[in-house]
Symmetry: none
Subunit: 247 residues, 2 copies
Amino acid sequence: MEKFSVKQLAKLAGVSVRTLHHYDEIGLLKPAVRSEAKYRYYNGDDLLRLQQIMFYRELDIPLAQIGEILDSKDFNIHEALLQHKKELQKRKKHVSELIATIDNTLKQLKNTKMNYNEIYKGYSPEQAEAYEKEAKERWSSDRVEESKQRVMKMTKSEWEAVQKESVDINIELAKLMHLSPQDEKVQTMVQRHFNWIGNFYTVTPEIYRGLANMYITDERFKANYDKYAEGLAEFLSEGMIYFARAI
Amino acid sequence: MEKFSVKQLAKLAGVSVRTLHHYDEIGLLKPAVRSEAKYRYYNGDDLLRLQQIMFYRELDIPLAQIGEILDSKDFNIHEALLQHKKELQKRKKHVSELIATIDNTLKQLKNTKMNYNEIYKGYSPEQAEAYEKEAKERWSSDRVEESKQRVMKMTKSEWEAVQKESVDINIELAKLMHLSPQDEKVQTMVQRHFNWIGNFYTVTPEIYRGLANMYITDERFKANYDKYAEGLAEFLSEGMIYFARAI
DNA sequence: ACTAACCTATCACCTTACGTGAGAGTCAAG
DNA sequence: CTTGACTCTCACGTAAGGTGATAGGTTAGT
């Protein structure tokens, strides 16, 4: 029968010697024999088992579970793989959301000439179209398209109401700055702010948090809010993040 | 200025007290003041910083790097986010590949199971389980095991080729039934059948003869072959016995 | 048989981002 | 002044190994 030293097996399988030591320690892969001097010697079966271990390991399955899979003959591999696939799909979805959030943040960072509020402020629905070209270079076209669609669907009076709502929210918030951002009254206003943003595009908690972050990191946003009151940007930002927890 | 205890801040931000201790330890978020009794008290700025931390943390950015981002004024956030996005995209791609691998594996498991039943037994998947027991009594479990092992090692396309070969052989044989089983053309097809069986286990003349016998005595095999043409089972069986003389 | 070069063994601490107590001190309320 | 809630600082545990340190084993060439 074949006989491999730790290093040989490690090289064959493309893992480190330490890894083999580790697998021995946790009982996942014990060498076929141990020499007088405690040297580990593996045989062909061990190599085969190691290959299987690596297959499952590549799927990001914890070593403990790999051990169960390999050691119990009647382990339902099919079920285990299905289960693991679900987890991976969740992970993938999560990562996709993170990427979307970064995209959102990047777009807003890039947007140094105009921020969201400035863009729509004073623009009538008819002017929205003219703005579209310029905006598309700056924002994700999806978001802009969605935003534009929604604005275009508004009547003139609705649009005016939306504009006024923005101003109202900021004024009211400025009055509440003696309270904590987590205060119920403040949160009620943040809810209005959240709804207001909803006029333009679908807001997820991640996006809302990202927006909160922008309010304090981007001078443009900060300046806009601080027009109403010094520190309003920070105040609103805190309130938004607190609010986002409950969305 | 606001003053929060560890627990209060933890609750506000939705993290554990231990987390705040940890952030203090690693210097990521140090409380504004420490009381006589070493109690931590945070203020509004700390809350703001914590919210920033959580924003980046959600993006799966390591705490050490979050510290750099927040502490160095000239840190290029834009670049950092772009970089991190790339990493996330890699991660996403990797996860996608893992899912694909699992899908592939699942498909092979399924194919193997179904076709194993269909080809060996001509039985529906539902009856497969029951038949397996029966089969093991009739065949040596060694043979069944060997067969399974070989099938399990095939790739999907290999397996599909094997399936197609089976159908091809039977169709061709059915066309040759006007000849004698010892006819050269028939024997050529029997050779292919012999090779095909070799996909599953090592075939000796004795085993091949035994299989020939089984094709006409076991109704299951008989039914399977007679799907192609009435009497194909007997015809093939005769051809196999003749072929076995020369192995 | 001797030595250099290489291989292997067993500790044992380090990594991430905290969780989970243990034991002791502190604070606000009754 | 006690009770209960809160807080403090160790300090070990997690997963899957990385990275030495130190000591002993094997092998090839001489």
